[in-house]
């Protein structure tokens, strides 16, 4: 065996035997055990592996059947790869907190940039909320968050930037504080920030039974926009090209705050 033993008070040394199987190594690193199996993971999130594991893009011919059953998001296809083989693989994302979640015949919707990896027994679908992905089925998935994740029960209103995802509750909607919309002064205040805008006039609201996942910071994690949904009428976010990514609010063409349309609405015209 190795002569480089664990130094007395030093760090823990891992090898393929001592690495956990499908569990966290520490708060920031997750270990996946593959036994002749497959996992979907976001491109570039693998940091190291033992064993024989092969990484192939979603478009790889041999993965056709797998993709047909568990991957339904052409928008993100170029972000995802399939790891196949046997061994132990470490996943991490820019030193963010990493956690795994088990779904048991359930559904969970999560911000696209936060999802790191999932088992093929789950099916990935694009949520109709732009910038979010929905996982359906039974299995394990790994998600990153900026700071630890907090679980909340609806009814709840949350800050748009702190939202990571939600499970089993079907009605996320926007909520605007009344003062934000009422009157000329309110409109001016919200637009310019003069005269006391709190920065919390806009929230997402959840009602019904389920769980809402929040991260403990309002700094969003970067995500890569790789396309847009088809420009059909009635498809949220499908209003043609959305060059600035598909954040929660950037549906359709980008518009400046205080464009004529907004003002008219605020003035009640």
């Amino acid at each position: 065996m190795s002569t480089y033993g664990t130094p007395g008070a030093g760090p823990v040394v891992y090898d393929p035997v001592t690495l956990p199987a499908d569990d966290n190594v520490n708060g920031y690193t997750f270990c996946v055990e593959l036994r002749d199996g497959q996992w979907f993971l976001q491109k570039g999130k693998m940091i190291a592996y033992y064993g024989a594991i092969e990484f192939n893009g979603i478009g790889h011919g041999r993965l056709d059947r797998l993709v047909r059953t568990s991957f339904h998001s052409p928008l993100h296809a170029s972000d995802w790869v399939v790891a196949a083989g046997s061994g132990k693989m470490l996943l991490a994302d820019r030193a963010f907190d990493v956690n795994s979640y088990d779904l048991d015949d359930g559904n969970l919707t999560i911000r696209a940039g936060n999802l790191l990896a999932f088992q093929p027994s789950l099916a990935l679908k694009q949520s109709i909320v732009p910038g979010f992905l929905t996982l359906i089925g039974t299995g394990k998935f790994v998600a990153a968050s900026n700071g630890p994740v907090v679980f909340m029960e609806p009814p709840i209103r949350v800050d748009p930037q702190a939202l990571v995802g939600w499970a089993d509750c079907p009605s996320p909607c926007h909520h605007y504080d009344h003062g934000y919309m009422a009157g000329v002064l309110g409109g001016l205040r919200a637009m310019t920030g003069l005269g006391g805008a709190s920065g919390e006039e806009h929230q997402f609201e959840f009602v019904g039974a389920g769980t809402v996942l929040l991260q403990s910071t309002e700094t969003l994690m970067d995500e890569v926009a790789t396309g847009s949904v088809p420009p059909e009428p009635g498809v949220p976010g499908g209003g043609g090209t959305a060059p600035g990514g598909h954040g929660p609010q950037s549906s359709g063409a980008p518009r400046l705050p205080g464009q004529l349309g907004d003002l008219q609405r605020r003035f009640g015209l």
Binding site: T3, P11, G44, G57, I58
Partner: protein, 210 residues
């Protein structure tokens, strides 16, 4: 004597001995300390020229005195490494402090450096004593043994020690070129007997996009 205070501050207790540390990384000290900049990392004229030529530059200070000195670097996580006659390979930017008794130098790493965008050379530390390396997020220490070779993403590699051979493997195919690559086109394979330090974050590398 190196010890960690929290995970982001290194405390060194000194009784007249010295440590080498990254220039400007001292955050506090008590007792009597002198700080002296070491040109060329205390490796002499030859070392200085080598570092200049290889681009593996490192500005180092020597701290000497009685008392305790605390070091930190941009709130990065600190990992302690104990060396018993073996060699530690680390990027110059990730090396925070070493015992003064340890020798530092530069060595050729081959193609791995090129894919990371941080040069073809790396810093070595050898001798008996302790060293402190920094990483973005707490490093995971992985053992490489003859029956278990390890493959690491170049962007997440921090350091390694022991008798380890590294080979650079590339999986670039025509699929990579048309944007359908596996996302892990460049990898370093470690074989032999030793330890590899991996951070839970990837530096921006030219390999990061393929």
């Amino acid at each position: 004597m190196f010890r960690l205070q929290g995970s982001k501050v290194l405390a060194v207790d000194m009784t007249g001995d010295a440590v080498k540390a990254k220039n400007g990384s001292m955050v506090a000290y008590d007792g009597q300390m002198t700080f002296k900049k070491l040109s060329g990392g205390g490796e002499g004229l030859r070392g200085m020229v080598t570092r200049r030529l290889t681009g593996e530059q490192m500005t180092v200070m020597e701290v000497k005195g009685h008392g305790t000195c605390w070091f930190a670097d941009r709130a990065s996580e600190i990992n302690l490494v104990r060396l018993q006659g073996d060699k530690l390979y680390v990027e110059a930017g990730n090396l925070l402090a070493t015992d003064a008794g340890l020798r530092t130098g530069t060595t050729f790493t081959g193609l791995r450096g090129a894919s990371q965008g941080n040069g073809l050379f790396t810093t070595t530390v050898e001798g008996h004593g302790q060293a402190a390396i920094v990483s973005d997020g707490p490093a995971v220490v992985l053992r490489v043994s003859p029956q278990y070779p390890l493959i690491v993403d170049p962007g997440a590699y921090v350091a390694h020690q022991g008798d380890v051979r590294q080979t650079f493997q590339s999986g670039v195919t025509f699929r990579t070129l048309v944007g359908e690559g596996g996302g892990e086109a460049f990898q370093i394979r470690f074989e032999g007997d030793g330890l590899v330090y991996v951070q839970p974050s990837e530096r921006n590398t030219i390999a990061g996009d393929v």
